[in-house]
Symmetry: none
Subunit: 209 residues, 2 copies
């Protein structure tokens, strides 16, 4: 009956305990963590609970287990674990830069794909939408991301974008003409011009703050 830190689910406690343990002992990727039996012992929980935690972390790619050898820490960097537990990382500057750079790269990738595969009809429909509605820059690229029919890339964009959005850099105002000319290039399958237009847009956005 000790004061359990949290959620009435032991395995989550174990996850948390592991996190602290890893942090406290400053274990690095490749390092071995104690055996299941020892953890079970150390945390005073059943081995099955330890296993549930470990299996979950394994599926997340945070640890790696090798039968007969042990359990090892895998790519670390900001463990996804931390995010899952609600600890967010958007603090330092570098992360910000990485976010916007990554976002930019993905958007360009999407443009490339769209320039290559999207039907003229799809693009025209998008142009009509641009003319008709009022919208946020995100909305525009969401549509681009959807047009590119790679669901995974679309997801990645959504994720990156959602992070990028929280920590907002000022979204400068971009004029409809810019979007339209970008789309026009896409329609003409002129990948390079489209990207160029995109980059100019970026520059404008960060300029007027």
């Amino acid at each position: 009956m000790a004061g359990r830190t949290s959620s009435s689910k032991i395995y989550l406690d174990v996850v948390e305990s592991l996190r602290s343990m890893i942090e406290a002992d400053s274990l690095l990727p490749g390092d071995k963590i104690p055996s299941e039996r020892e953890l079970s012992d150390r945390f005073n929980v059943g081995r099955s609970s330890v296993r549930e935690a470990l299996r979950a972390l394994e599926l997340l790619g945070l640890i790696e287990t090798r039968r007969g050898e042990g359990t090892f820490i895998r790519d670390f960097q900001e463990h996804k674990l931390v995010e899952l537990l609600g600890t967010f990382f958007l603090q330092d500057k570098k992360v910000q830069e990485d976010l916007s750079e990554t976002k930019r790269l993905i958007e360009i990738d999407c443009l490339r794909i769209v320039a290559f595969f999207a039907t003229a009809e799809d693009i025209k429909r998008l142009m009509a939408w641009v003319k008709a509605d009022e919208f946020h820059d995100d909305d525009f690229f969401l549509r681009i991301a959807i047009l590119n029919r790679n669901r995974l890339l679309e997801r990645i964009w959504r994720i990156v974008n959602s992070y990028a959005r929280t920590s907002e850099m000022v979204q400068g105002n971009v004029k409809k003409e810019d979007y339209l000319s970008l789309l026009t290039y896409l329609l003409e399958r002129d990948e390079e011009k489209a990207i160029e237009t995109y980059l100019i847009r970026i520059r404008n956005m960060s300029k007027d703050e």
Copy 2:
């Protein structure tokens, strides 16, 4: 034996079985899935294995369990990085293509960045490594991903790669010369040539199968 289902870890099989079951029965968010005991029975595995799978999915945010009631499918859509994994479970065929395409795009992005920012020294060090060691294609791009100093992009690559790898098609043999010439172009900051070399490599890899 083309499709190997059993990955030697029962709980992973269960995860897979659950995926198919959900797909087959077209279960939607909010729907209840069979009890642990029934699943254990249906899949002919121990309940603990079922639980390991369920706990992992729970930590991923894909399902939700309520004691005394049951286990339910959750509304994914909004799960940060975890979303990635969601994709992994939900579709199947298309995902493979998306995975390799995305991987390719990211690798090219990394190459671009490296061509632009990496120091000559770093690249030379990589060349030395190529000459000296035996390695897998993944290892090479892992190093490229690390060289590009965008941690986020590196991380996305790792994730995508780890998934792409599981389902992998034979990694054709690429010769060291190819890597070396690629690196040479990077050293000369010749982005286009480097990417061209990269693409040729891809073609070779899928050819000899």
